[in-house]
């Protein structure tokens, strides 16, 4: 078998084992711990009535042995059934279908923008190492890294909505518009598909703040890696070779430095996704963005067992798969790996 395929197979296998572990962890976590789902979801009066409580527990399978609950859950997951939310009384998978696109709509552009900006600024900082430009960029990143994301969102909302009125007060769409016919669940995309350009514009306008904040947070996280990766490359002898060849700065920067520095950045970007999704939980909370973060938060505080399991599992799956993808991509881009 070609070494590349073998490596991908190996990674895939360990990712699968990891994901299986994830289901065990999330499941055990929410079952073995003292939190009482019945207490969280029933009124005090209903909770005190043993019959109602028993009925509640029977309905959600809470009276079964743990491992029976787990096996059943695992079986269901494999069929795409993540159970039913006690909060929304809808299948969790259906809830996810509604909330996930909202998060993708902010997370994806933020990730893309962040990589572009971080690579640009990181290269600039590396090339101006220890000069004012570098110091400025690094200080900004330090502030970004030390700021609570939810507070940054609040400050941004205060400045850009409350004081300046440039952006809306959270949400995905102004009241005067109805959501476009659902295709992808992402309002901008759906509006464009339906040709509703006023809705598209409004949805885009609502994206500005959440995407901007998530981008800023992600850039601060990425920047240090980009900078140090680029500095390492700039110090490399093959860059001295390129300079000694009399190549123009443009070619050295983009063909020689950029290319070599991008590889480590790629790996970190995969890891950075975790921080982005985590940041999204907090930012969505402030900006009333009805995405995965809000759903996770709401189900967590009401001990909505199935929903928590669903969200956590979903995020862990996405995270693991993306990092698997990054690994594979890395080995495809780096000619040195496949050959070994």
């Amino acid at each position: 078998m070609p070494p590349l395929l073998k490596m991908i197979g190996k990674r895939l296998l360990s990712a699968l084992v990891l994901l299986w572990g994830v289901t065990v962890v999330t499941f055990l976590l929410v079952n073995v711990v003292p939190g009482d789902a019945a207490a969280a979801n029933l009124s005090q009066q209903a909770y005190d009535d043993p019959e109602i409580r028993a009925a509640f527990e029977a309905k959600w399978g809470l009276d079964q042995p743990i491992w029976v609950q787990y096996v059943r859950y695992l079986g269901n997951i494999l069929q795409g059934d993540l159970g039913t939310s006690q909060q929304t009384h809808r299948p969790v998978a259906e809830d996810l279908g509604q909330y996930v696109p909202a998060t993708i709509e902010i997370a994806l552009p933020a990730m893309a923008l962040a990589i572009v900006i971080a690579v640009g600024l990181g290269m600039l900082a590396a090339m101006r190492k220890n000069r004012p430009t570098d110091t400025g960029i690094r200080s900004a990143a330090l502030v970004g890294l030390s700021t609570p994301p939810f507070w940054l969102a609040l400050v941004a909302l205060y400045v850009f909505f409350y004081l300046l009125g440039w952006v809306p007060n959270g949400g995905r769409l102004s009241n005067i518009y109805d959501p476009p016919p659902a295709v992808t669940g992402m309002y901008t995309v759906d509006a464009a598909i339906a040709g509703q350009w006023d809705v598209f514009g409004d949805a885009l306008w609502h994206l500005v703040l959440p995407v901007g904040i998530l981008t800023a947070l992600t850039v601060s996280g990425l920047l240090r890696f980009v900078r140090s990766a680029m500095i390492e490359v700039l110090d490399a002898e093959y860059i001295r070779s390129a300079i000694a060849k009399g190549l123009p700065r443009r070619i050295i920067t983009w063909r020689h430095v950029f290319r070599a520095g991008l590889l480590p950045v790629l790996t970190v970007s995969g890891l950075m996704l975790a921080s982005l999704l985590g940041g999204a939980v907090l930012v969505e909370q402030v900006l009333s963005w009805p995405g995965l973060g809000q759903y996770a938060y709401k189900s967590a505080i009401s001990l909505d067992l199935q929903a928590i399991l669903g969200v956590t599992l979903f995020i862990a799956v996405v995270y693991t798969l993306i990092n698997l993808l990054v690994d594979v991509l890395y080995s495809v881009i780096d000619p040195r790996i496949g050959a070994k």
């Binding site: 994901l19 502030v143 507070w151 970190v268 907090l282």
Partner: protein, 302 residues
């Protein structure tokens, strides 16, 4: 939250240390350690510690009592204004440090302890123990930190203790990895130096060698993680999963102000408090890192 991958990197950064550079203690008094930024960040940390220690004497009012009109903007009587219950924001902010700082220390200390024991066991026994321990660490790291912490804190019920527990659960693997790799390198060294071919070295000698060996990376990591712990704790309280109201906790205070943007002072100051102390820990961590491993200065980005 933003801090996440930096943990992972702290691991890799920390494990990049050369063995001979690891010994801490010794020479903080000399060399490039005392640069202006280091002094400033240490100053900020000391200041917050003092404020926390002397809060009852420093804070102008009782943090939990209504001491003025509701939602007064900053004034001579209330430098940072009052919140929706007429409590003095400045006093709550000062008292807030009494929660955040000790809790952050507790989180880091417990994570270090748990991670240290697991890492030691993994490196010492190797084989199956190592495998299980490291897969377990991978497992925890397969979740975005704040989301797992949120699930844990929610599952155990919102309280100070459970928030700390949740944050320890999500951060021990970082330390476990450092300690493990340190044990492995010590064992390799002993193997080479003492020509010890067979059997396990005594646990005692491992511990004796591992502690000075891993002290450097663990110290850098712990310093940065102190800031991280403060951020995560604030995030959990912001979501209502930290200390119960009416406790004066920075994250919860920010949440209180988020309900009405007009009352900016309720949220602004606690956020600045978090920002300053976390930034100070980050700067200090970098300074220590630089000092222990000057070669990494180029790689330093913060």
């Amino acid at each position: 939250m933003t801090i996440l991958p930096s943990d992972r990197v702290a691991v890799s950064r920390a494990s990049r240390f050369r063995r001979d550079r690891l010994r801490v203690g010794g020479s903080l008094g000399t060399g490039s350690f005392w640069r202006p930024l280091t002094v400033v960040s240490l100053g900020i940390i000391v200041l917050w510690c003092l404020l926390a220690a002397f809060a009852p004497w420093v804070a102008p009012y009782d943090p939990l009592e209504t001491v003025g009109d509701n939602l007064q903007p900053p004034s001579g009587a209330h430098w940072m204004g009052t919140d929706d219950l007429g409590r003095d924001v400045l006093s709550r902010l000062i008292w807030g440090s009494r929660l955040s700082l000790p809790l952050a220390v507790a989180i880091v200390a417990c994570s270090l302890l748990v991670g240290g024991i697991v890492g030691l066991a993994a490196g010492y026994f190797g084989k199956a123990v190592d495998n299980v321990a490291m897969r377990l660490a991978d497992l925890v790291l397969a979740f975005p930190q704040i989301i797992l912490a949120m699930a844990v804190a929610a599952a155990f019920g919102p309280s100070v203790g459970n928030a700390v527990l949740a944050l320890v659960i999500v951060s021990w693997p970082l330390y476990a990895r450092i300690i493990r790799s340190s044990v492995l390198s010590v064992r390799e060294q002993e193997y080479v130096v003492a020509g010890r071919m067979l059997g396990l070295p005594t646990l005692r000698s491992i511990v004796k060698d591992v502690i000075p060996n891993s002290a450097g990376p663990a110290l850098v990591m712990s310093t940065i993680e102190l800031g991280n712990a403060i951020l995560m704790l604030a995030a959990l309280s912001f979501l209502g999963l930290g200390p119960r109201p009416p406790a004066a906790e920075w994250g919860a205070m920010i949440a209180l102000g988020s309900q009405n943007l007009g009352n900016w002072w309720v949220s602004l100051f606690p956020g600045l408090a978090i920002l300053t102390i976390v930034m100070a820990f980050n700067l200090l961590g970098d300074a220590i890192q630089d000092h222990l491993d000057p070669r990494s200065r180029n790689a330093r980005t913060r």
